[in-house]
Subunit: 172 residues, 2 copies
């Protein structure tokens, strides 16, 4: 499951990793909460919607974008609050969470850490064999996060295994 976190729009996606670099799309959507509502109400709605997705699709792992202190202060803080409830939803279901920066996602999916939105959408459409580009941008970003994790997970697993085996070797 890939999540592009946000309070006004939160992109959600579910994919299935296949053989090699094959990735199959399962679901994609956007959760919106009204900008005029109170923070508490918005977080409650977002949490309920994402928890429903997690219960429906029972993902093995969640990949979510890491938030940086850039741009509008209030938006960044709202997004960071949203990440808190999104990660909590996964943690309460014992689903592992991996965080990726935007440039890590761009690099993994397009080979270029500075790819623009159009390039990313083109790549995601091609990788997943979609008949048309996913919309809105948050949905495409959520799919990109999921693809990024599918492609990096085997590497992470190998690195983890190497680290574990080297730890074992150095034990007295």
């Amino acid at each position: 499951m890939g999540i592009d976190p946000g309070l006004t729009r939160c992109g959600l996606s579910v994919v299935q990793a296949g053989r090699g670099r094959a990735v199959l799309p399962v679901a994609v959507g956007v959760v919106r909460t009204p900008a005029g509502a109170e923070l508490a109400e918005r977080l409650k709605r977002l949490s309920a919607a994402v928890n429903d997705w997690m219960d429906d699709y029972q993902p093995d792992v969640v990949a979510i974008e890491r938030v940086f202190e850039r741009g509008n202060v209030s938006t960044v803080m709202h997004t960071a609050h949203a990440v808190g409830v999104l990660v909590l939803g996964a943690a309460q279901r014992d689903i592992p969470v991996h965080m990726y920066t935007p440039s890590e996602v761009k690099k993994a999916v397009s080979g270029n850490g500075r790819a623009d939105k159009k390039q990313m959408t083109t790549m995601i459409t091609r990788i997943l064999g979609l008949s048309e580009p996913p919309k809105p941008a948050d949905a495409a970003d959520a799919l990109a996060l999921a693809v990024c994790h599918c492609w990096r997970a085997p590497l992470l697993a190998r690195t983890g295994a190497l680290l574990e085996s080297s730890t074992e070797r150095t034990r007295p």
Copy 2:
């Protein structure tokens, strides 16, 4: 209930507003989560602890410190993620949430928006009639947030009533 949000240490307090400016202490404590644990695990533990407090004390309202983009980036983001799960806990119980900046709390409690920690601790000890200063600092901050709301709530209620009545008057 007053909450000084944090992931490593989160201050929690419960007070009872009395007549005039009287405020009675009910409970105070600090929730800690291990700095070495994963973010997801820490948020799950914090959420469980705070939800227990809310269920035990059934507060009428929660006052929580507003997070700013200052200081260490990683700490600020962790605190903002923590705020997300703390506010969610209140929202899921339909408990209203009020946020105050550190300077609003200092101004309300000590009359000086730039009061230092020592001045704040002295004031809180006196206001609540405690036999000794609350420790650690996060516990004192949580009590200060609760006192701040007790003293500002009547004003907020009057302002709300005024706004409502002026809205009614201008209706055609």
